[in-house]
Structures are given as structure tokens and as C-alpha cells.
């Protein structure tokens, strides 16, 4: 019988195929302690997994490592055992790694929280506020959850008319982070397509659960997606103890789905009360303004009245004074006329002639004022009160009278 033989390459392939056939990488895991953990070239992860009686080399790509890892941590690894053909080295290619034991998980979580905090993901100064009256929100929740029902019911009780787009996700278990991350990415895409402000808020919620059940909300990539969201975020998870990283990175944190609804929309009763108060305040203010202007107008009219009275009074005074001056002036003028009249009386030549005196003229403009001016034979005019007679001098008189 000719002995069967394999080439080395065929043997390695045969063993690897056999291992692949007998090992269910999704359902079965190897549990052990990590040692010799290292990351090379920023993309390859190598470590050993061991217990008291054995040791296996493990290899994985960095993106698949979702938890902080260090030597001594107890882990479960899912994946495929195989011989690396070129060197004949047996190793386990890891698809998924999960921490075992609350202590290890909490330690890893503390490390992740510290790292993200250093990066500034929880910085209070970058927290955005939600609009008081949102019109549309993206709700990331499981449609089967009580939290979803509660949030819808309470929102409708408080403030009807809010448009809610539900992004149904798995909120618990291994598939939860990927499911939620996918929804978050869809929301960012829709926000981008419809223009900034399409969503007023992104709400991620689920009901309370145990520490393990809530682990999806501590997923690093999920937390980074929330951090990068263009839409203001609110995360509300019903529990009382430890806060998840998703809540810490959110702009607003609601303690329970009920509290989340309360923070998201105002109560219409409160708004109505506020409006009635505002209405009252506006009414009071308007009345105040009307009263103020009424007073101003009243003051103006009063002042105008006063001014008119003053002006009238002044014009009356001036008119009276002017008429007094005019009277004095006329009297003065009349006195001047009287003066002339008296003067005229004094120079009136007819007044003298009325008393029997006559004016004797030798010729025009030559009045005789002396007997010596006259000689016998001269013709003279004798002017009397009522006429003039012509006469001739017939003799001379030596003496007057």
C-alpha cells in the first residue's frame, strides 16, 4: 500500500478547512486572560489568550476592537482558529471580542471615558440647547419598547403637532451599537439632504436596564457619532445608577423617557398660561402708553390755551397802549392846528379894519404909514373892511391929528 501524503501547503489547507468546518465562530468563544497585548502599525492587534493550562496567539484588525484592552483582562473571543501557512504558526483570528466580568468591563469603560473626556467629547461648553417649540424630531428607539410608547403618549399629551420620525433600532445586545450607529448616520444624511434645521432634535432613548443591557450606549463609535451629530442630541435612558457615555456626550440628558418628553416639548397648559400673562402684560403696557400720551396731549392743549390767553392779553395791552398813543398824537396835532389858528387871528388884517381902521396904499405893495409920505394931488387907495375907494389928497397937514 502506497502511503498517502500531503504537500505542506495542502496539509495546512486541509487542517484549516477541517477547523473551519468543526468550529462555529459565531456561537462558540474562547475565554481566557489577555497577555502580551500590542498594536502594530496602527492597524494590527496581537495578544495571547491564556489560562493556567494553555496559551493561544490571537490576531485581529484594530477597527474590530471595540473596547479598551490591556494585559490581565478576562475576555471572550469569537472568530476562527487557523494555521498561518507561511510560518506554520497556529493562531486565532478574532472577529469579535467582549470583556468578561463586571470588573473588567467597568475598568475598560473608565479608560474609555477618560480618553473621550481628554478629547473634549463631554465638554459642557459645546452643549447645544434644544428649541423650545420643536417641529420635527428624529426618534431613535425600538418600536416595541415601552419607552417608545411612553414618549409618544406624553409628547402628544403636552404638545400635539410635533412630527416624529422613528428610526427603529435594536437597543440591547451585540447588534445594538451597529443598529444605532446606522440610524444616526441615516439621520445625518437626511438632515444634510433636507437642509440644516430639518430636524430640531435627535432623541435616542430606551427603557431602563442592567449594566450589561445598557453596554451598547457605551460603545465608542456610537458615542463619537452622537458627538459629531449636526442635529442637537438628547439621550434618555431609564435607570438610576451609572450614566452611559451616550448620555454624557448628548447635548441634553433626560433621566427617563417621560422626562425626555417633558424636556423636548413644552406643556400646552403652561404655554397658554404664559400667553395669558403676556396678553395681560401687553394690555397693561398699552394702557400705560395710552395714559401717558393722553397726559401729554392734555398738557399740550393746556399749554396752548395758556399761551393763547397770554398772547391775547399782550395784544390787548398793545392795542390799548397804541390807541392811547394815537389819541395823544392826534391831540398834539390838533394843538398845533389851534396854534396856527391863534396865529392867524393875530395877523388877520380884516380884524383891524372891522374896528374902523383903513389901510392907505399909494400903489400896490406901498402902504402909507406916515402923513409925511403924502402930498396934495396924490392919488391913493383907501382899503376898508368891505372894499377899496380911490381918493386924491387935497392938502397937507403939518401936524398929526
Amino acid at each position: 500500500m502506497t502511503p498517502q501524503f500531503f504537500t505542506v501547503s495542502d496539509f495546512v489547507s486541509y487542517i484549516n478547512d477541517t477547523l473551519k468546518a468543526i468550529w462555529d465562530g459565531d456561537a462558540v468563544a474562547i475565554e481566557g486572560e489577555v497577555s502580551g497585548f500590542r498594536v502594530s502599525q496602527g492597524q494590527w492587534v496581537n495578544f495571547d489568550i491564556k489560562d493556567d493550562g494553555g496559551l493561544i496567539s490571537a490576531f485581529m484588525v484594530l477597527p474590530k476592537l471595540r473596547v479598551p484592552l490591556e494585559d490581565g483582562m478576562k475576555v471572550r473571543i469569537y472568530g476562527t482558529p487557523r494555521i498561518y501557512p507561511k510560518y506554520g504558526k497556529f493562531s486565532f483570528t478574532v472577529d469579535r471580542l467582549e470583556l468578561v466580568g463586571e470588573g473588567a468591563i467597568k475598568k475598560a469603560l473608565a479608560q474609555l471615558r477618560a480618553k473621550l473626556d481628554t478629547e473634549g467629547l463631554f465638554d459642557p461648553s459645546r452643549k447645544r440647547t434644544l428649541p423650545r417649540f420643536p417641529k420635527r424630531i428624529a426618534l431613535v428607539a425600538s418600536r416595541e419598547s415601552a419607552a417608545y410608547g411612553d414618549i409618544i403618549r406624553i409628547i402628544n399629551e403636552r404638545w400635539a403637532g410635533l412630527e416624529i420620525e422613528l428610526f427603529h433600532v435594536v437597543v440591547q445586545g451585540d447588534r445594538a451599537p451597529a443598529s444605532i450607529i446606522k440610524a444616526l448616520k441615516q439621520i445625518q444624511k437626511r438632515e444634510q439632504e433636507n437642509g440644516a434645521g430639518y430636524y430640531d432634535a435627535l432623541v435616542l432613548t430606551r427603557g431602563g436596564g442592567s449594566f450589561d443591557e445598557l453596554m451598547a450606549f457605551n460603545d465608542e463609535q456610537l458615542v463619537r457619532e452622537l458627538y459629531a451629530s449636526k442635529v442637537p442630541t438628547m439621550v434618555a435612558i431609564g435607570h438610576e445608577r451609572d450614566t452611559t457615555l451616550a448620555e454624557e456626550v448628548a447635548d441634553v440628558r433626560g433621566s427617563t423617557p417621560t422626562d425626555c418628553a417633558r424636556r423636548l416639548v413644552p406643556d400646552k397648559e403652561d404655554v397658554l398660561y404664559e400667553l395669558s400673562m403676556l396678553e395681560q402684560a401687553i394690555g397693561d403696557r398699552m394702557q400705560g402708553i395710552i395714559d401717558e400720551y393722553t397726559q401729554v396731549i392734555h398738557t399740550i392743549f393746556t399749554n396752548v390755551d395758556k399761551w393763547l390767553v397770554t398772547v391775547l392779553h399782550r395784544s390787548q395791552e398793545l392795542a390799548v397802549a397804541t390807541s392811547t398813543y394815537a389819541q395823544h398824537w392826534i391831540i398834539h396835532l390838533l394843538q398845533r392846528v389851534d396854534g396856527y389858528e391863534r396865529f392867524l387871528k393875530s395877523v388877520d388884517p380884516t380884524a383891524v379894519m372891522a374896528r374902523g381902521y383903513a389901510i392907505i396904499e399909494l400903489a400896490k405893495d406901498e402902504i402909507i404909514t406916515s402923513a409925511k409920505q403924502l402930498k396934495a394931488g396924490q392919488h391913493i387907495n383907501i382899503r376898508l373892511r368891505d372894499g377899496t375907494v380911490h381918493a386924491t389928497i387935497d392938502g397937507e397937514q403939518a401936524t398929526l391929528l
Binding site: 392826534i330 396856527y340 389858528e341 396865529f343 400896490k364
Partner: protein, 73 residues
């Protein structure tokens, strides 16, 4: 009914009338002896004085009347 308006009332120019009277007064105060001219000037001055007196009296009455309306208000 027609009202016969005195010519002097409307036509007399008070300031010119005063000026003329002043002029006539000066003539009489000079040594002029022309009796006819003197008579004519005297008559003119008498007429002027009369017109002035009428005009001024009328003005005085008007002022009194206006003053009455101001004070009544």
C-alpha cells in the same frame, strides 16, 4: 340817499398841510406888505387849518371808536 363828501376830508395831506401852514406863518412874520397876497395866504391858511381840524377830529373819533372795540373785548 346821497352823502355829499367834503372835498377836504379825503384830499388833505396832513403832513403837507402842516408844512404849508408853517410856510405861511413864516411869510406873515417877515416884512412883506402885499396886502392882496397876505389876504390870499390868510384865506388859504384858514382853509388849511379848518381841513386839518376836520381830518384830525375824524381820526380822533375813529381811534376812540377802535379803542372802544378793543376794551370791550
Amino acid at each position: 340817499m346821497t352823502t355829499k363828501k367834503k372835498k377836504t376830508d379825503a384830499s388833505v395831506d396832513v403832513s403837507k398841510a402842516f408844512e404849508e401852514l408853517e410856510h405861511i406863518a413864516t411869510w406873515f412874520e417877515s416884512d412883506k406888505t402885499d396886502i392882496d397876497e397876505g389876504m390870499a395866504k390868510f384865506e388859504r391858511a384858514t382853509e388849511l387849518a379848518k381841513s386839518l381840524k376836520e381830518k384830525l377830529t375824524e381820526a380822533q373819533n375813529r381811534i376812540q371808536e377802535i379803542r372802544g372795540t378793543i376794551i370791550d373785548e
